[in-house]
Structures are given as C-alpha cells and as structure tokens.
C-alpha cells in the first residue's frame, strides 16, 4: 500500500504524520521537534531557509522572512484582510498579475502557494527522512471555514511541492478523526480549534462503526493566536510611547523583537501567573542613547486585553449549535485543538459555554496531522475502516437579476450533493446567459466570492422570460464544484468545473512545479553528497588505520608495495573528490575504497 502522509499546514506551525502499522504517529523533524514553524526566509546569499532556522534568523532578516502566509493564501489583493496584512507585515506584499497576492523577497516575486509549497516540501522531506523512501501522496488540512479559492490554492501549493494532495480536509474534522479513531466511540462531539491564525468550530457525529459525520461547521479565518500577540504588542508599544514618546512600530527590527517577546509572554502566561517582557536596547532615541523595554505582564491583564477575542469564538460556537439544531446538552464531548487552547481563559470560556469539562486526551498541536494521516490511510485502504461524511462550509449559488445572490447549495450540506433550479431569460431575444458561480452567505452577489463564470449561448430568440435554463450545482466527494446550465428547450448544455482560482494560471503552476523540483533535486544531491562523504571518510579512516599492519605484512614483496601504492592512490583520489564535492565520481570511488578496505582486512586477518 502506498504511504499517504497527513500534513497540518498551520499559520504558525506545521506538523506531519503518518499511519504506521495501524497506528498514527507524528514525525519529528531533524531537530527533534514535532512541529515546524511555518516560516520561510531567503538569506542575503540567496539561500532558502524553512522552519526553525528561518524563525531564528527572523529578527535580523525581518524583511525577507515570511510568516503566517496562510493568512494570505487564496485571497485577492484588494481584500480587506490582505490590505491589513500588507500594512502590518515586515515583509513586502505586492499585487500580482491576476489581482492575487505576491510576496517580494530579495527582489524575486513569489506567489503565496509557492511560499506554502516550500513549507509543504519541508514537511514532505521530514516524512521521507523518517520513512526512508519517497512520498508522493498527502492529505492536507485547512481551516473549516476556508473557501473554495483558499482550498484550491492550498492544493496548488501541494502540486508545486511535488505532492499529490489526494484530499483536503478540515482541521477540526481531522482532529475528530484522530480523537475517535479505533476507539469505537458513539458520540456527538464539538471540536473547538483556535490556532495561530484561524478559529474553527465543528460539530460531528461519530459512530462506533467508524463513520464520522460533520453536522455543522463555522469559523473565523481572521481570528487566532496572532491576534492575541498583537494585543500584547499594542499594549507594549503604547506604554513605551507614553514613557519615551517613541513609536516602536516604525522600526521593523524592534517590531519583530516585540512580536517574538509577545508570543513568548503569552505562552508563558498559560502556566504562570506573571511574566516579564525584557527587551534591552530595543531602540535608540534622538540623542542616540539606547533604550530598554522592561514590563511585567500578569495573567489577569492579558485576559483583560484579549477577553473580546475569546468572546467572539464563543459567539461562533453558539451560532454553530443553532445551525446544527442541537442543544448544548446534546454535545457529549468537547475537543480542544490548537496551541491557543492552552490559555486558561479559553479553557474556562469553553467549559462554561458547553457546561462540561473539555476532553484532555488529544495533543492540541499534533492531533490535526494525525487525523490527516488517518484519512489518508482510510482512503487508500482496500477495506475502509472509517468513512468521513463532510459538509460544504459555504453557500453556493449564482448571481441573478438585480445583483442578488440566489442560493443553490446551502452551507453545511453533506457532500457529495447536487441541486438544480430553473431560471429564465430577462430580456427579449436574449440568446445567451452568463452564469456567475459564487460562494458566500450574503444575499448581495457583490459581497460574495466569485468562483467562476461561463456563458450558455445559442438560446432561442424569444420574448423575455420564455426561455428556461436549468442550473445544476454539483459537489463531488473530492469537494470539486461543477456547474451545468442547460437550455431546457433544446437540451443544449454548458458546464464548468470550478478549479484554479488561486490566482495562478496553469502555466504558472507548471513553471513553479519545475522550479520546485529543481530545488528538490539540488537539495537531494547535497544530502547525497553528505552521505557519500561520510561513507568515504569512514572507509578512509579504516584503511589508514590498517596501513601500518599491512605494510608490515607485505613489505617484502614487490606485489605488496604495488598494492600499497595503489591503495594510497585510491585514498588520495577519494580525498580530492570529497574536497571538490564531485558526487558522481565519489560514489564510484567508494567502491574502490571498499575493495581496498576488504583486501587490507583480508591481509591483516590472514596473518593474525
């Protein structure tokens, strides 16, 4: 069976898992960490850094270090969210050619999927190192509230990273899969997922026989741990300004240090009552004197600063329950997911809302990747142990006369599904209709997301309202939306499959795939060089150790001297190749070294 890895591509951290021998496990990276920061940087030398190393150098390379790219993925340049990010981020966010978002690093433009692909590629590599073989398939998770564009863009990122993303699943759903997997649980559960950048709440029904049915899901793609950090930053900046009259926001390096310190303080306050933010030499004043930032932050104060954010998540929970047609007491367990759920204020709020203590059995940072791996296994397994019945998180419909949005598939509809409606022409002798496929909850079309459009032509010339067109929306099990329009009179049809709305064209993706592959090859080669070098060096050391003994044994014969000369030549050549980094020749030379070593060992062995 082919291995399918599960990747939790998070806003701040990513995690990769796999099912081994029926048991889902999270894979640690080379540094031994189970999560990897979702950060990418380009150094001055043009070197690409991903993960912990990118995070560590962020302070000194803030302008060329991308964090929280997930907040930008699949969004349009002119959206409010992107504009906010553009004004807050130390790295430069620019407009792309298709009204999409590009990130400029060291003079080169990167699309957001490309940046995400670098992280996915890193996760793929971590899995491959652990498994010892190449991995091609993955299940990647996204926030439940991601729209179609964001999902497509995530899929594109997978493709660029050389991964076949066989399914995109929602993070809270993945968490529920990991929670219920193999446990024969028969319950209705709520998953409260407050991560680095997004908040999601999902209600699921789990059957003891391995069926997981999502009942309802909702969320906020712009509410997460980073917003909590921002509150602390704001507080620090304000108090510093009061004291010294200097706005730390204007200094990018200071801002980055503030960001790190705030995140650290927030995490610490989950376990202690009070912490100190200590940033010496944060900035210098007009007289060129260095200024320090030193503040004590208590847990109650942090809670005061962020109470409204937590309140917002509870409101979303309320709305979801209502949509599911469930009472609080019908929820039999509450699962907490995401690093932010370590915050005591969050835990208390959830507990008092659901009137029950949240489940503590799952690891908030790893459970999503585990769930993704489980889904990957379940899909590819011959006799499927479990099946996931997911829902569409947004309403789908088309635009009708007057700029209104006509719903075809309401949100929280279990997929696969299909719905049809009949529409008529509006004008006399109208021979074509334009179908604008949209996604969103507003009754005004312009407030919703445009997924695609197409035109049905060749309609009969007739007075308005006489020609009828049937529009059918279909979502298949893979979450792919397709729309057909049919002239009911002639039976003529037009249809589109909604794809590639990530702002990248097919050609662009292809180019990026090639580029990323080159990069992967380059990296592989360097890995191989390292491996070959180590092996060669090991052999050389062994040979050199044997030289004295061998010389003693064969010194008498010409044949022996020849052999020793030859051996010295082999070692010298290998050393030169190591120095030159010539991997192909070195691999061949290793054979020669191994032969020499065997021969030496044989000679010495015979004597003693």
């Amino acid at each position: 069976m082919e291995t399918v890895i599960g990747i939790d591509l998070g806003t701040t951290n990513s995690c990769v898992g796999v099912v081994e021998g029926g048991q889902p496990v999270v894979i640690a990276n080379r540094g031994g960490y189970k999560t990897t920061p979702s950060m990418v940087a380009i150094t001055e030398a043009g070197k690409r850094l991903v993960g912990h190393i990118a995070k560590r150098q962020a302070v000194t390379n803030a302008e060329h270090t991308v964090f929280a790219a997930k907040r930008l993925i699949g969004r349009k340049w002119d959206s409010q969210q992107v504009q906010n990010a553009a004004s807050n981020c130390p790295y430069s966010i620019v407009k792309g050619p298709h009204n999409d978002v590009r990130i400029q690093l060291r003079g080169k433009m990167y699309s957001v999927p490309e940046v995400s692909a670098m992280i996915l590629q890193e996760m793929k590599m971590i899995a491959e190192d652990y498994l010892g073989h190449a991995v091609e398939k993955a299940v990647v998770t996204v926030p439940a509230y991601f729209n179609d564009g964001q999902r497509q863009a995530t899929k594109d990122a997978g493709r660029i990273a050389g991964l076949d993303v066989i399914r995109i699943i929602n993070e809270p759903t993945a968490a529920a899969l990991a929670y219920g997997f193999g446990k024969q649980i028969d319950k209705t559960v709520a998953v409260y997922d407050l991560g680095g950048g997004t908040f999601d709440i999902s209600i699921l029904e789990i059957s003891g026989t391995g069926v997981f049915k999502v009942v309802s899901t909702a969320g906020d793609t712009f509410l997460g741990g980073e917003d909590f950090d921002l509150r602390i930053i704001q507080w620090l900046v304000d108090s510093f300004k009061d004291e010294h009259g200097i706005d730390l926001r204007e200094d990018r390096m200071a801002l980055q240090r503030l960001k790190d310190a705030s995140e650290k303080a927030k995490c610490e306050l989950s376990s202690v009552e009070q912490t100190e933010v200590n940033l010496p030499f944060i900035i210098s004043n007009a007289r060129n004197e260095a200024l320090h930032l030193q503040r004590v932050l208590g847990r109650p104060q942090l809670e005061e600063l962020t109470r409204d954010l937590v309140e917002r998540t509870i409101q979303t929970c309320e709305q979801t329950l209502e949509e599911a047609g469930l009472d609080k007491d019908e929820i039999e367990d509450v699962i907490l997911v995401g690093g932010m759920t370590r915050m005591p204020l969050v835990q208390h709020a959830v507990e008092s809302f659901f009137e029950r203590e949240p489940n503590k059995g799952v690891h908030p940072d790893e459970v999503v990747a585990l769930g993704a791996a489980i889904q990957g296994m379940a899909l590819t397994q011959e006799a499927s142990e479990m099946i996931l019945l997911d829902v569409t998180p947004h309403t789908l419909g088309i635009m009708v006369v007057g700029g209104y949005f006509e719903e075809l598939i309401p949100l929280n509809t279990t997929v696969p599904t299909s719905r049809s409606k009949v529409f008529t022409t509006v004008r006399e002798n109208q021979t074509a209709v334009k179908i604008l496929v949209m996604q969103g909850e507003s009754h005004r079309a312009d407030e919703n997301e445009l997924l695609g459009e197409f035109i049905l032509t060749g309609l009969r010339r007739a007075p308005a309202g006489q020609v009828e067109v049937e529009v059918t929306f279909e979502i298949n099990a893979d979450g792919i939306v397709s729309v057909h329009a049919k002239d009911l009179e002639t039976g003529q049809q037009q249809s589109i499959t909604v794809t590639a709305t990530s702002g990248l064209t097919v050609d662009e993706i292809q180019n990026m795939v090639t580029e990323a592959k080159d990069f992967a090859v380059a990296r592989r080669v360097s890995d191989e060089v390292e491996g070959a070098t180590q092996e060669a060096e090991k052999l050389i050391a062994q040979i050199e150790q044997l030289f004295p003994d061998v010389e003693q044994v064969v010194a008498g014969s010409d044949f022996g001297r020849d052999a020793i000369e030859k051996a010295r030549g082999v070692v010298a050549k290998a050393r030169a190749l190591i120095k030159a980094g010539k991997i192909d020749e070195l691999s061949e030379q290793i054979d020669a070294l191994a032969r020499t070593q065997r021969m030496f060992k044989g000679v010495v062995g015979k004597v003693s």
Partner: protein, 509 residues
C-alpha cells in the same frame, strides 16, 4: 433429544444489525416455537448453514439459542469487525431483496468493484423512486433516533464514494452519489427530533389530504355518473324498464393529454402555446416535490420525480378505498330508494346528518346526489355550494401545512402546488395567493398562474409593497417589462428607500 428452538431477544432493533438478506429471512422465522428443523424447511436452508446463521444472530444478540452458549452483551450496535457467516457484505436491514429493476447489461460495465457491489449499487439506485424517508433508510416509522442514525451510517459506509476511493467506478460513482445524497436527505429530515416531527406531520398531512382530495374527486365523479344515469331514467318514467348499463359522460373521462415525446432538437419547430403549456405541466410534474434530477437511465422510462414527498402511499390508499366504498354504498342505497321525492328527501336528510356529524364530505356527496335529482332547485344548489366551499376550506388548511413544510425544505415545485390549492380554497387569503405566486416563481413554474396569484394578492392588499414587488418580479420573469415597470413605480411610491426595488426598476428599464 429435545428439539432445538431458537427464540427472539426482545428489545433488539433488528434494523440496525448488519445482516444479509438470508440472515434477515431466518431471523423473521424465529418465533420461539419453530424448531431448527422447522425453520430449515421454511427458509429452504440446510441445517448446517442454518445453525451457523443462528449462531451469528445469537452473537449479534438478536436471538437466544437454548443449546448454545454464544451470547452477546450489547445488541443492536452492529459489530462490523466480526465477519458474517454468509459471504454477503453486512447489510443494514433485513429487507427482502427487491426485484431487479435495472438492465442486467449494466453489470457488464467495467469498474474496479465486485459484482456483488455493482448489484447492490444498481439495486439501490433504481429503487430510490417513490420511497419515503423511512423506506429509504430501511427502518420502521416508530424506530428511535439511534436506530435511524445507525441505519444511515451503515448505508453511508457502503454508498459514500470514498468507500471505493481511487478506483475506476465509471457510471457507478454518480449512482453511488445519488443514493448517498438521498440517504442524507432522509437522515437530515429524520435525525433530529423537531425535524422528524415535522416530516411525520407532513407525511400524515399528505396522507390525509390525499384521502380527502381523492374522495372528493370520486364523489364528484360518482355523482356525475349518477346524474347521467338518472336523467334518462327520469325522462323515461313512463316506461317500466330503465335503460341498463348507464354510460358515463365523456367529459368526466380524463381529457386526452398531448404527451410530450422526445423530439429531435434540430427538427423541432418553435413550440406552440399548447405545447409549451404541456411542457410546463410536464416539467412541474417532474419537479413535483423534488429537485433531484432523474438520472439518464432509463431514457425511455417515464421521467418521474425522485422524491420523498409522496402524493399517496399504501396506507392512504387503503383508507381512501374504504372511504370510497362507503360513499358508493350510500350512493347506491339512495339510488335504490323508491320515488324521486323520497330519494331527494333521503339525500337531504343524509346531508344534514352528515354535516351535523362533521362529515363535510358525506354532506357534499349527499347534496350532489340531491342536485342530480333536482338540478334546478336553488336552495339545494346554495347548500351544496356552501358545503363544498367548507370542504375546500378544510382541505386548504391541510394544504397550507404541507406547503409550509415543503417551502421550508426548499421543495418549491411541491410548495407551489400546495399553495395553489390553499389559494383556491381561500380566495380571499392574500398570504396564500402571495405564497403561491412566489413558489411558482421560485420553482420556475407556470408564469401565467403566478401572475394571476400575484395580481390577486396585490388586489387584496394593494398597499403592501411586497405584493407589488412580487407582481413586478413575475412580470420581469415573463419578460413583460412595461408591466413590471408600472408595478415597480407603484412600489417605489410605497417605499422609496428600498434598494432592491430600485435595482429591479433599473433592470426593467
């Protein structure tokens, strides 16, 4: 050796058990008195196999075997880990195998699934039609929530396309999706107590109204026949012999309806008004109650809706039949009475009795019979009008309940039909007229009708802006922009700030 008699374990929800049809059949024969030998004969299964099946049933907790120790503590949850004794896949309910409704050649289609799986997919797909939600899930109407959930979950495990992920499924995949979609629709309606109650009420209401409606139709039909047979009898009263075998009047026969047959598109002339109407009717009928499209196969079969919004079903048919039987008897009885005036009096008395007993339908029937005898009598005519209006009114109440449910479920075509009936029953009800027009518009139904109802609503409440806007929307949909503009200008006067009106007005210009 004493005969081995298996017995049933009470309180087990057999629908939730993963049984094969054979196992289900065996289970249905276990009654605590039939011995293994008896059952073997009854179901035609050899004793060895039967014993194996019984042991599995015991394992599942469905039966008790006096001679065996195999028992299971918890029954009904269905343990999928245990392989069934028979080679069949676990099935959710012990329903007898439905008759094969598909073309066996469909099994030949190349797909990476076994013949058994293919059969089950095709069998389910072609029997979707006309099933109510309970039938779809294969559960009885009185089962509890857990049973509904586990039936749905078990069926989903099989029919969700992910169960065959990555395999070449050909046309089986969309079929699985169709089945799954309908199962989900059923579960969504039955899985939550409040929604289930609504559906139950709706099912009951449709059954009631359909009994009423059909009885009413039948009364009218019978009366027509009676009138026809009695008219010559009265005319020929001098003759001693009444003519035998009365012929029903032609008009009560269903009018010949131009069937819309598939026509080659390229050869098709512009449709006539009649064709268009027939087409609209056909489409409305097709959409009745459901937005699910019938699949492409069988192309020759009548395109009926795949819907769980039944017009009638078995039990309502039974009740209807008995109601009709009663009516016929009463009609016949009155027909046999001697002397015209006696008969007339008998009918009138019957009508009075029926009405005071609350049986409006009986009263209407009796009055119609009376009218048939004395068609010119004004007071009978008035009485009949009054009673039949009352009948329509009480029907209208039922239809309104139906309509509201259908509307809520987004079944606009069904709702349109129901609202129309409400509006017919209550001609002065502005809300019903408005709703009928709106539902017709949403369902893409007959715009002439929609216009009539919208106009009626607007006439009844000319100051209500929503009525005026609705009328305008109907006109817009029908392409009558001048009329739409006229109405929208009225609407603007009523509410100058509504953005939607100005948008529509822009559209109309």
């Amino acid at each position: 050796m004493a005969p081995r008699v298996p017995s049933l374990v009470s309180g087990v929800n057999v629908y939730a058990l993963p049984l094969s049809t054979k196992e289900g059949f065996v289970l249905s024969r276990v009654d605590g008195s039939a011995s293994v030998e008896d059952i073997s004969i009854m179901v035609g299964v050899k004793q060895d196999e039967l014993l194996a099946i019984l042991e599995r049933l015991a394992e599942l907790g469905a039966v008790k075997l006096s001679w065996s120790t195999v028992q299971r503590s918890v029954a009904g949850s269905g343990n999928a880990a245990r392989p069934p004794v028979t080679p069949a896949k676990p099935k959710p309910a012990a329903v007898p195998e439905p008759p094969v409704r598909y073309d066996p050649r469909e099994l030949d289609e190349v797909a990476a699934i076994s013949l058994e799986v293919k059969k089950r997919i095709l069998g389910a797909y072609y029997s979707l039609e006309g099933k109510d939600y309970y039938q779809l899930l294969g559960v009885a109407r009185d089962v509890d929530k857990k049973a509904i959930r586990s039936a749905y979950f078990e069926l989903s495990r099989f029919f969700h396309p992910d169960s065959q992920f990555g395999k070449e499924l050909g046309s089986f995949k969309p079929k699985m999706e169709s089945v799954f979609k309908r199962l989900t629709e059923a579960y969504d309606a039955l899985g939550r107590a409040p929604r289930r109650k609504e559906y139950d009420d709706y099912l009951a209401a449709t059954e009631r109204t359909s009994v009423l409606q059909q009885t009413l139709d039948q009364v009218q039909h019978d009366t027509e026949m009676l009138r026809h047979s009695q008219a010559p009898a009265a005319a020929a009263s001098v003759q001693s012999e009444p003519p035998a075998g009365p012929e029903p009047r032609r008009a009560v026969m269903p009018p010949p309806l131009a069937e819309t047959t598939p026509v080659q598109i390229s050869m098709r002339p512009p449709p006539s008004a009649e064709e268009r109407k027939a087409y609209a009717r056909d489409r409305l009928r097709r959409q009745l109650g459901g937005d699910s499209k019938p699949a492409s196969w069988p192309p020759t079969a009548e395109q009926r809706p795949v819907s769980s919004f039944p017009v009638s079903n078995e039990s309502s048919k039974d009740r209807r039949d008995s109601a009709i039987k009663g009516l016929r008897q009463s009609l016949r009885a009155s027909g046999h009475a001697t002397g015209g005036s006696d008969r007339l009096l008998a009918h009138l008395k019957q009508a009075k009795d029926a009405e005071s007993a609350g049986d409006l339908l009986g009263a209407a029937g009796a009055l119609q019979s009376a009218l048939a005898l004395e068609p010119e009598r004004k007071e009978i005519q008035e009485q009949y009008e009054r009673v039949s209006k009352a009948v329509t009114r009480s029907l209208a109440d039922n239809y309104e309940k139906q309509a509201r449910y259908e509307e809520k479920m987004g079944k606009w075509a069904a709702a349109a039909l129901s609202w129309e009936r409400v509006a017919e029953g209550r001609p002065e009800d502005e809300y019903a007229a408005h709703s009928a027009a709106e539902a017709l518009l949403k369902a893409g139904g007959d715009l002439h009708k929609a216009q009539r109802y919208a106009q009626r609503a607007a006439d009844l409440q000319p100051s209500r802006v929503t009525n005026v806007v609705l009328l305008a929307r109907v006109y817009l949909a029908a392409g009558l922009r001048l009329n739409a503009r006229r109405e929208l200008e009225k609407a603007v006067k009523l509410d100058p700030h509504d953005e939607m009106i100005s948008n529509l007005l822009h559209e109309a210009r």
